[in-house]
Symmetry: D2
Subunit: 331 residues, 4 copies
């Protein structure tokens, strides 16, 4: 059980709660947060009788943590979350299409691709300014320069912008430039970054770690939501398995497992999972057929020379074909 | 390199080939087969100059084994394999639907389910007579009694019959009763059984082992085909991963990876992968949308009392709904 | 629950048991075995009240199957199983060393290696006559010719012989030539072969499938033991994971997990797991330090030209060094 | 190829390098760093002829990146790294023993455990002040209060202190209190934190992510080292696999794989891998026998009431037994 104190609770009130928890035979440990103090109850095997605790001064509420996550669960919030940004709706009837290059390389490259994906029907432009790269010697992105280019893309095309934050410093910067802040697979359990994302005023797209269970993904979303940001989109992007026919194994059943227990929208990134552009169109069809709320794909005007980890970017004409197929599927 | 001898090649001819291989600096090892002797060349790093070997008496051909599989590959056989059984076509334009219970429990159960799945549009009836069960104390199937029931199902409904063979003795028996012989995931690398299946006169449905790579699956199909049986259907049924939201992780990209390198048809079994009946309809939609040549699903008139490993059997009305959705998708 | 009928139980007695099970509200399904009939009770959630069943004619005993395995468990048989063959003891205080080539290539090769490994202290000679190979075009072993060579090795060196059986036909043949019959990882769930091994008069070495859980391994051992053969040695040989630094990931904790719940001896095969001869010595040290009852290693007089899947065979001098280290460890 | 500019290189000099790279037919992308600018060369398939670049003003050196990591590799630095802190040597002849509770709970708990582990021979005291927990509602550690307790432990016992940093803010704090800064498995690819660790003045213990390959672990170490901190200890703590007999599968072959290509010391954490205290002693023996430079184990005076994720903490008497066994092994 978690005891949530009011914002203005005093230290004496916190201590009184801990004494009460100890009187019940457990231990109470204060966890000071940015906006409030919570007291964690340790040592109980089942539910704690909380009536006397709730009666204490300074106590806002208690949270029974039978499931490891709570706010992101369908139990707490049965209706699906729908995220509206401008006139784009995520989690509604139509799938949202997010497309663009792996990395922003130049203004010209970004605008060329953005105009293409817009023309074929994308609503959101993706492109990395800060790239989390396995090697310190790989291209790490253009940084704030890239964010400025993304801002220009939005001004010129009207597309929404999504880009990845990889640390405390750039999440604040990105909040100023982007419409959706992406947290990548490698940072899915960077709890400090998740907490900070919980204070952002922009929606968060949280990618599943490549070896995270669905429960762990939802717990990470709970970190964000427990800090106040309820606008979260989850993203399946392939998991690490023994199978070597694709870069990662796209786990399309994740769409179903997430929607069964959570109200959050789920999109699918087939580009990173497949690592092969030929697979992106059929896997996108599969994702939509199974019920994904959208897809996130890499598109490049010159895929063979893209600054990308793999060779997964679609040619513009492949993206056009993909959009046509999605329209047929969702008629 | 493999040197294939003619059927009537003499021992002296085999020895002459071995001497020639040794003269080239390698080793030749005879592998007597049921219908022919092959001589395996060991020790060569690259292609072997085979003109002098081909000129020897008794030599039929040489096979360069740069890829580990050959007969099942698209290189050798660019056109997709289409398997016709009666008026059912597997690998053609329409997906084939194979449905029925996990195990044949009784004549009444089998006929009830068969009539239901036929009514909703299935073409093939599945049901196990010999069950490979993890525990020796689990129900192992009705054996030949089950096969007789399956024969009756075919006579009464006109549905084709598929059932699993688990050893030498029952593969011969099943060949007499069934239209398609299934080899299960646990036997995917039972090479002795694969060879025997290569001599069967009925098509083989070969399930991917739950931790087999696509290459290993194709090599196992090669075992069957190298013995003469070219009628092989491959089946993706989920792989073993760390992910615990489903019983196994359905790897729908396997459809693409197989079709890229092989001419064999691929069907998908979502029931065993998901282990949850609620997931079977959407995963089937996904499989068809990605390009599967059919699906293999468990359906039971009384799923809660089915003799099945998990709780994955569809209710008849769920199967009806599934068939409706597949029709919409493939219009 | 499983009802075991006496050997001479009549059909009428079996039917009476089934009626009694039905009277309790469950279903009873007869499973005719080679030596006895068992009746499987289906539909019960918890333990079945069996007093009335035990009172029926022809009933030998009932087996409560709360755990999926029973005979191999420490609950049933708290003392560790010790297997004595000649003067070799497996499962006792000293680790047993099984060594030899991947495949028997010739009499000369086998005798050369056997004499070397004997000289350095091995007690059991390993060598494949029937090889389960991923590709049908790979060397499949010398067959019975190889078994004859193994027999000669035993006669000349006094070493015990272990070799792999891959199907019904060769398990009977191997029983005549070898001291220990090996069942390989790919056949760990070939239940038909397991049952047959249960009727063999020689001890069985059962390798863990490369994606089998410990429970599945024990269930497969239970298949053998439930047919009457209690002389079983288990073998950890690496599992399939995402990790690519070794061929398979050697799971040395398996030694502990098996010994915790089962009385069977466990040996470790580091050669197949590592796929690198440099790793075999330290991994063997680790296996012995953790508590393995022995090791199974590949040794070849000419490793670079061995007919082997990988390059894992030790040079004779490496084997000599390994034996020295094991002696130091187990002083 | 990476072109490293001198610290005082001007923008004009950077631009001149980029023009030269473009003249060679590639692209040059500047990556401003904290201490220096590097220019990443993109588009080359093989080595770049760098003589003209090296002749330019402001260029310090070029780094050929044929391997994805360089500074941590044995190629660059053939001698093993030995880390000396006070009179404790890590990477030398004797294994280092790091022991203590999962989390610092109170001064009394920490001092009690520290005195026990010191008495039995540990050299380093471990204990978390900032805990990365899967759920936001779990105990997150005492924070700086915990660090103060750790400082007291050092003063009273003379043990070195290791504790985990989970973000930018606490890494700076921890640097002031601890002797070794631990980066946890979930942060292994938090590149921003790795870079910051590269500027710390204390040695870093970097845990392998539970689904990281050895190459990825080394790349993450390269991130730290490329920023200037060469004092890095790697730690194997179990990987995520299908196998469910332990919490994670301890990959002891990782010790060998790391030492083969890197000069960094490797220690093993059997507590988190096993998740069972009974397994910690034998797995530690195995780790030392294989060649680990030390072990990191959880010990608690009252393990059943420890604030820990699992039940893996050793009882003090188990730790005493472990120390005795390690002494025997390393005599």
């Amino acid at each position: 059980m978690l005891v949530i104190m009011k914002k203005d609770a005093t230290e004496a009130q916190v201590e009184a709660v801990i004494r009460e928890i100890e009187a019940l035979g457990y231990r109470g440990i204060p966890m000071p947060g940015i906006q409030r103090t919570a007291i964690c109850t340790i040592g109980n095997q089942g539910p704690v009788e909380d009536s006397r605790i709730l009666a204490l001064d300074g106590v806002k509420e208690t949270i029974r943590v039978t499931k490891p996550y709570k706010l992101v669960s369908r139990e707490t919030h049965p209706q699906p979350t729908i995220i509206s940004i401008g006139n784009v709706i995520i989690g509604g009837e139509k799938p949202v299409i997010m497309a663009g290059p792996c990395a922003i390389e130049s203004e010209n490259q970004a605008l060329t691709i953005a105009n293409l994906v817009k023309q074929y029907g994308a609503q959101v432009f993706r492109g990395g300014a800060f790239k989390p790269r396995t090697s310190p010697y790989s291209f790490q992105g253009l940084g704030e320069e890239g964010l400025k280019i993304l801002k220009k893309v939005r001004e010129e095309t009207g597309l929404l912008i999504i880009t990845e934050a990889i640390d405390h410093a750039n999440i604040e910067l990105i909040e100023q430039y982007a419409d959706i802040i992406q947290l990548g697979a490698r940072n899915m359990q960077n709890y400090s970054l998740l907490r900070q994302a919980g204070h952002a005023t922009k929606p968060i797209l949280l990618k599943r770690g490549f070896s995270a269970t669905i429960e762990e993904l939802l717990m990470s979303a709970e970190y964000i939501m427990s800090e106040g940001n309820t606008q979260i989109i989850l993203c399946e992007r392939g998991i690490r398995t023994f199978s070597d026919n694709t870069r990662n194994t796209l786990d399309l059943s994740a769409i179903l497992s997430i929607k069964e227990v959570s109200h959050l929208p789920v999109i699918v990134d087939p580009s990173h999972a497949a690592g092969r552009r030929e697979y992106v169109i059929p896997l996108s069809r599969g994702a939509i057929a199974i019920g994904a709320d959208g897809i996130l794909v890499e598109v490049h005007n010159d895929p063979l020379h893209a600054l990308s980890d793999g060779m997964q970017s679609l040619y513009p004409e492949q993206f056009a074909a993909l959009m046509k197929e999605i329209k047929t599927l969702t008629k």
